[in-house]
């Protein structure tokens, strides 16, 4: 599903990625680890097409609409409510039974009670849950998750663990994380990026 050889990315003078090879088949679960600044986020941005590699080959055999991306930023408008944000993305991704699916996801991530509140009033952890709802809303084939467990409390971690387990059979995962322990059981491969 994703194949990369000798991937390189440079921002101005600084080279962030050099000589990265990657192979992620359908149904795989690849964990990307490495210290801060090793280029984990850049690698994920390359895989979802938000950045172009400076050198090397990259093939991603998934249409844009079938990718679920969780970034450092929640990618939601603070002035809109949780419902409005998810409704916006639901329409853009043409999600069938949009209202029901939004309700189901908000329920599963315990955000249903806050559904009419502005995202701006959410705590960092609630924003992360809202971002997870946004990323899972259209049931993507490929999940690209950048540090999914950050800012989640114990309940959040447990909820996310359950969601990942449940979607494990139907999807392919590319997850960047600091403590691979949490997803070790699910992982089929891992890639360590040097500093």
């Amino acid at each position: 599903m994703i194949r990369a050889q000798g991937l390189e990315k440079r921002y101005g003078e600084k080279r962030v990625l050099r000589g990265v090879d990657l192979e992620l088949g359908r149904g795989g679960f690849l964990v990307v680890t490495g210290p801060n600044g090793a280029g984990k986020t850049t690698l994920l941005r390359l895989c979802v097409g938000l950045a172009q590699p400076t050198a090397g080959e990259l093939e991603v055999a998934v249409p844009r609409g079938r990718v679920g991306f969780l970034a450092h930023e929640p990618l939601v408008y603070r002035e809109l409510t949780a419902l409005e944000n998810l409704d916006l993305y639901g329409r853009l991704y043409r999600v069938p039974e949009r209202r029901e699916r939004i309700g189901m996801l908000l329920e599963r991530f315990r955000l249903w009670d806050a559904r009419r509140e502005r995202a701006g009033s959410f705590s960092r952890g609630m924003l992360q849950r809202l971002a997870l709802c946004r990323a899972f809303l259209h049931e993507p084939d490929l999940y690209v998750l950048d540090e999914p467990f950050t800012a989640l409390d114990d309940e959040g971690v447990e909820l996310l663990g359950r969601e990942l387990l449940e979607r494990r059979e139907r999807g392919t995962f590319l997850v960047a994380t600091h403590d691979p322990g949490r997803v070790q059981a699910l992982a089929t491969a891992s890639l360590r990026l040097a500093a």
Binding site: V48, L50, L75, Y77, E79, L80, L88, R118
Partner: protein
Amino acid sequence: MSYLADVATLARKDLRLELRARDTLPAMLLFVVSTLVVFHFTLPRDASRLAAFGLLWVALVFTALLGLTRCFAAEREQDVMDGLVLAPSDRSAIWLGKAISMLAFLVAAETVALPAFALFFDPGIDGRTIAGVALADLGICAVGTLLAGMAAASRARELLLPLLFLPLAIPIVIGGVGASVAGGSRYVEFLALYDAIFAIICWASFEYVVTE
């Protein structure tokens, strides 16, 4: 059809954001009226119609510029641009959605500005002026939105947008002032030509403004 649905979704989102935040439209309204009042004092008693309409267009262009600097502010400050760029819809829908919402703000500001202008300067606004303003708005919103997208990707945003926008606005101002002052329909036709050419270029090239 789904392309227009995406554009509608994005435009509605912008209008709802504006209703909530209320930071662009009120500013534009106040700005255009206060500019016209200030201009009143800069105009000598026996000034010609050309001078009066010239001031109207200066006020309109800079009001539009004020709105355009706020155009991609939400996406940039809250880092939402990646979310829109990743959506399966064509990237030009982002541009069209923004342009339509910017047009709405500009027209709203003009529904206050034109009567105020007629009141303060009494130059006799005729149909051609309205047509000129309408066509100019299309050009301003089409080109301005794309340039706002460019400025959003750069460091010196508020400084850069006027520099990028004003040279491209010169033909619009010429067409606008000409439509209201000189006879004949050449200016209105010219504005339509400008809108057609630049709308197509913007529509085709916006993809490269928001991606690498």
